[in-house]
């Protein structure tokens, strides 16, 4: 468990303290995939680097499994960092070492593993990230996705309990992003590893994260389970991110809504209710006619969800509302 207790960070620029992270409280549970989303400059890079003290905080305490890491001496800190893997946007592999040597590097640095232990572990990790055939290649001979898989294998070498991902998919194409995210999800599930992932793409959060924190100008402005934050965003920054990820143009949507007749509802289905043939039966029972103004059906991690914006005309609206709520559908009246 990672606990931030009034953690803050500011930089001294020309004698003035510029805050990068305002005092923040936050708890990341063991074994969860925790997303931190924000625009560049929002402070998410700083936040993730506080966890392994690449950036020392200027105030507050950081507790990892109830131990305050901010008081560690250099030797304790180095031992602690071995238990925290990290992957990067630009991979940061050593260009002078082969794939196998890159993966072995953190184990060699630790100085507590025998040669055979290292060799066996590298082989195992190469297989895990499906790069066995590329063991003796140099990073420059690999594609972006392959490089990131080497980065992941390297981060896992010393069997960490936490994996930090710094914009790990931002330099990858959509298809490669998919496969890297799937690999991260598999690792989280099979190894029970806590993953902290920062990104500026809400879509990445939607696919792999359990919970998410939204950052804006050095503050966490919204935090909660992904389905909550994603389907019912409260803060304007969060809304921007959600709309962006759904390619919704907010103004265009408002115009469409104005043209529509009757009441406008937004229905949110989650889990099993997504698959139920609800609209037709509600229309029959309540006598309303509806038209669909916008809609999306997708998954949040493993949970299917649907969100539809409808305009309803005629019939008995109250009956319709009751029917929807009875079917466990979240209803918002937009107009």
């Amino acid at each position: 468990m990672i606990v931030f207790d009034q953690v803050q960070k500011s930089y001294q620029v020309g004698g003035r303290a510029i805050p990068a992270l305002h005092p923040t409280d936050m708890t990341i549970e063991t074994g969860e995939v925790f997303g931190i989303v924000g625009h560049s400059g929002a402070g998410k890079s700083t936040l993730v680097r506080l966890i392994n003290l690449l950036e020392p905080p200027t105030g507050g305490r950081i507790l990892i499994d109830d131990e305050d890491i901010t008081g560690y001496n250099p030797a304790q800190l180095r031992a602690f960092r071995r238990k925290v893997g990290m992957i990067f946007q630009h991979f940061n592999l050593l260009s002078s070492k082969t794939v196998a040597d890159n993966i072995a590097f953190p184990m060699k640095l630790a100085g507590i593993y025998s040669k055979t232990e290292i060799r066996d572990r590298v082989e195992e990790l190469l297989a895990r990230v499906s790069l066995t055939d590329h063991a003796n290649k140099y990073p420059s001979q690999l594609s972006g996705g392959q490089k990131q898989r080497v980065g992941i294998a390297r981060a896992l070498a010393c069997r960490p309990t936490i994996l930090l991902c710094d914009e790990a998919t931002s330099a990858l194409d959509p298809q490669t992003t998919q496969s890297v995210l799937k690999l991260l999800a598999d690792i989280n599930r099979e190894l029970g590893l806590t993953i902290v992932l920062i990104t500026h793409e809400m879509d990445v959060v939607r696919r792999v994260c359990d919970r998410v924190a939204v950052m804006d100008a050095g503050r966490v402005v919204e935090m909660g389970p992904v389905s909550e934050v994603f389907l019912h965003p409260q803060h304007p920054t969060t809304r921007d991110f959600v709309f962006e990820s759904e390619s919704i143009d907010h103004e265009e949507l408002q115009e469409d809504l104005q043209k529509a007749d009757g009441r406008i509802l937004r229905l949110t289905f989650k889990g099993e209710s997504t698959y139920q043939p609800l609209l037709g039966s509600v229309a029959r029972k309540s006598g309303v006619d509806f038209s669909i103004l916008s809609g999306r059906i997708d998954h949040i991690k493993d949970t299917p969800y649907g969100q539809l914006t409808l305009s309803l005309v005629g019939g008995d609206l109250n009956v319709a509302m009751q029917e929807f709520e009875a079917a466990d559908v979240h209803v918002e009246v937009l107009r």
Binding site: N52, L54, P74, L77, R78, A79, F80, R81, R82, V84, M86, F88, H90, N92, L93, L94, S95, S96, K97, F105, P106, K108, L109, A110, Y138, P139, S140, C158, L164
Partner: protein, 221 residues
């Protein structure tokens, strides 16, 4: 052919070439041994680096700059008392090596500093995140990553030392430069001058070629 090169004593040329090789080789060895740690220190103590130390950097940088700003011909003369103290003589091949190192080491140190700065900061950060200490970061990540640049630096230093070594002939340093000055210049033996210059050109060409090959071999980018 015989008449054209009438003044050329080939065994003398052979010995002088060997002396130049020894002077360049030995001074290159010491320049690298002394310049490499200085270059690493310059890098580490520099702004926003691992061991940022503004005072140490300023002092080190000043010393390097002083040695580099003194024209080598002056450095040769200024170094004479020190060389006598160190080696016992300021003449010959051995006497030429200390001033050559004094000229070559600071030059190489700057080249090392520059090539270390070329290493992606992300690699240093990643190595730090793995729990490496400063020594491990230098030996395990920085130097291997900067190796092609450092080899290119050694090549440039070696070539500079060839010309410095030739210059040391002025104060009786030995080698091809000494030959060129004593015979080619003072006795107007143009043929000796041409041969020594040609040999120096070939020497530099070979060094550059070998250096380029090595850089290519160690570049994995």
């Amino acid at each position: 052919m015989e008449a054209l090169l009438s003044n050329v004593d080939w065994s003398e040329i052979g010995w002088a070439s060997w002396d130049t090789l020894v002077m360049v080789g030995m001074s290159l060895l010491f320049s690298v041994l002394i310049g490499l740690p200085i270059g690493v220190l310059l890098f580490l103590t520099g702004k926003r680096q691992l061991l940022e130390q503004p005072v140490a950097y300023a002092v080190l940088s000043f010393v390097v700059n002083v040695l580099r700003s003194v024209p080598f011909i002056i450095l040769l003369i200024v170094m004479i008392p020190f060389t006598v103290m160190l080696i016992g003589t300021s003449l010959g091949v051995a006497g030429a090596i200390p001033p050559l190192v004094a000229g070559g080491a600071p030059f190489f140190a700057r080249l090392v500093e520059t090539s270390l700065r070329e290493v992606d900061r992300g690699i240093i950060e990643a190595t730090q995140a793995m729990g490496a200490n400063v020594r491990q970061i230098i030996l395990g990540a920085l130097l291997p990553e900067a190796l092609p640049g450092i080899i290119a630096g050694i090549t440039v230093t070696a070539i500079t030392l060839v010309s410095y070594a030739a210059m040391s002939g002025v104060i009786g340093g030995g080698g091809l430069g000494d030959l060129a000055i004593r015979f080619g210049y003072q006795r107007f033996q143009t043929d000796v001058m041409v041969i020594t210059v040609a040999l120096l050109v070939i020497f530099v060409q070979v060094l550059q070629m070998v250096g380029d090959r090595l850089v290519l071999y160690f570049s994995r980018k």
